[in-house]
């Protein structure tokens, strides 16, 4: 499967908007500072990536540029929160006229949106997709294009579902997601696996066990603050930090370690039973 270049990305994080600084601070001070006001963080995030979105619309045509955002999952007694204001603001700002929608999955929406972006491109239904997720004070957007200059590419994705909830991780569902994503890549050599469970969670050990059963002794990293649950942004922030790690050539660990392989697997799961595996790699 040909990789899809991540031609631009932007992050909004309590530790700032510079991915290197965020990676460094996450290890020194894992507990996050207070988040900035939601409206400010959303517009700041959009402004950083909007020029590249505008360029994509000029390159491919406005109707060929899609927007897919993760959103939190609705409940039966609480209908889906329509984030159409954010979606419409992005469309207007980058002047896109293509498909635009939310995929809902609390805790994994951003990762699912990026997986959807890859499928839209591979199906020929769009030529560029701005995808990600935005929460209060945290968010990430990536621009993925059919062709383009980038050091990092989306190589594969896989989604499964199982009985995973807030306290239980369905190991079989996670294993299927990892196995399928790696099968699509064809080469299982990874620099590291980015785990989804936050440090201190009992699910870290389960996630690590599945990684070991599928991949053997592959390094794994945790980058999420247990005190700051991510909703829509979850997974998208992880993808941007993984892309930044590939650019730096070091795994995001307290003692940075040079990557043995220029490929990272990002795993995300949600209480709604979703599992998403995204493989990013350095472009050859």
């Amino acid at each position: 499967m040909a990789g899809l270049p991540l031609t631009a990305w932007a992050i909004e994080h309590p530790w700032g908007d510079d991915t290197d600084a965020v990676l460094d601070r996450l290890h020194r001070e894992p507990a996050l500072p207070p988040a900035p006001a939601p409206a400010r963080s959303t517009s700041a995030l959009l402004e950083r990536i909007a020029p590249r979105g505008v360029e994509a619309c000029e390159r491919w045509g406005p109707s060929r540029v899609a927007i897919v955002l993760g959103s939190v999952a609705p409940r039966v007694d609480e209908p889906l929160l329509r984030l159409s204001t954010t979606l419409e603001a992005i469309r207007e700002r980058i002047r896109s006229a293509g498909p635009a929608y939310h995929v809902a999955a609390t805790g994994a929406g951003g990762a699912k949106a990026i997986a959807s972006a890859g499928r839209l491109l591979r199906a020929g239904l769009a030529d560029a997709v701005l995808a990600g997720g935005i929460d209060d004070g945290m968010g990430a957007l990536v621009l993925i294009e059919k062709h383009g200059d980038s050091f990092v590419q989306l190589e594969a994705s896989a989604e499964t579902s199982g009985s995973t909830d807030a306290d239980h991780l369905d190991e079989a569902a996670m294993e299927r997601a990892l196995t399928r994503a790696l099968a699509a890549v064809g080469d299982p050599a990874l620099g590291y696996v980015q785990l989804h469970a936050p440090a201190g969670s009992g699910l870290v050990a389960v996630e690590r066990r599945v990684v070991q059963s599928v991949l053997g002794a592959t390094p794994s990293c945790m980058l999420r603050d247990p005190s700051r649950p991510e909703g829509a942004a979850a997974g998208a922030v992880g993808v941007v930090l993984a892309a930044a790690s590939l650019l730096r050539g070091f795994a995001p660990e307290p003692e940075p370690r040079e990557l043995e392989h220029d490929r990272v697997l990002v795993h995300a799961f949600s209480p709604g039973g979703h599992h998403v595996a995204l493989v990013l790699g350095a472009r050859p």
Partner: protein
């Protein structure tokens, strides 16, 4: 571009009588939301046509399906809940069509609660395939934008998924049809055109 062909279809409206929802465990039927019950009813009609638990699911609805439905059918290939306001039907079909790059078949389903006086409750579902399976089958063309002003809104009207019901009804009898729905942007006079065509 990945093709999508209709392999099976089903729908439910109030005229069809109470939704049986036999896919839901009996003890959970009473507590399930109405949209979950009608969705379960429609999916129940499709179980003979396709192994639903082996397909990826794409749902266009205003609320996530009740956990009991997801757990009883256990869609192992993941499920995606799409929301795009007035354009939800088109975007859900687009997301489903994109799934066909990874899977030979996909389930795409819709459930709408009644919002008097604007719309009635219904559920509908299609199983799409990337290969045509019969000569008289229908081809779902990728939803595409169409420069046309949509039908005048009555104002304050909630987004409607009614086009999904009309598509399922047409597919049920093998009839080509075209649906035109608003793009979702109040500023743009364009629509999404969804077309079911004869496969051959």
């Amino acid at each position: 571009m990945t093709d999508a062909f209709v392999r099976a279809s089903a729908w439910w409206t109030v005229d069809a009588g109470p939704p049986h929802a036999e896919l839901l465990p009996r003890e959970q039927r009473a507590s399930a939301g109405f949209s979950t019950r009608i969705l379960a009813h429609v999916l129940g009609r499709l179980t003979a046509e396709a192994p639903l638990s082996a397909l990826p699911w794409v749902l266009g609805c205003s609320a996530a399906p009740h956990d009991s439905l997801r757990r009883s059918l256990a869609p192992a290939e993941g499920w995606r809940l799409v929301d795009a306001g007035p354009a939800t039907v088109a975007m859900t079909l687009l997301e489903a069509q994109a799934c066909l790059v990874e899977h030979p078949h996909v389930l795409v389903a819709f459930a709408q609660d009644a919002t008097p006086p604007y719309s009635e409750a219904f559920a509908s579902a299609l199983v799409l395939s990337r290969e045509a399976e019969s000569e008289d089958g229908l081809w779902l063309m990728a939803p595409r934008q169409h420069r046309a002003r949509p039908a005048t809104s009555r104002g304050g009207e909630p987004p409607s998924l009614d086009a999904a019901l009309r598509l399922a009804r047409a597919a049920d009898v093998g009839r080509p049809t075209v649906e035109t729905i608003p793009s979702g942007s109040p500023e743009r006079p364009d629509c999404w055109r969804i077309e079911l065509r004869r496969a051959f």
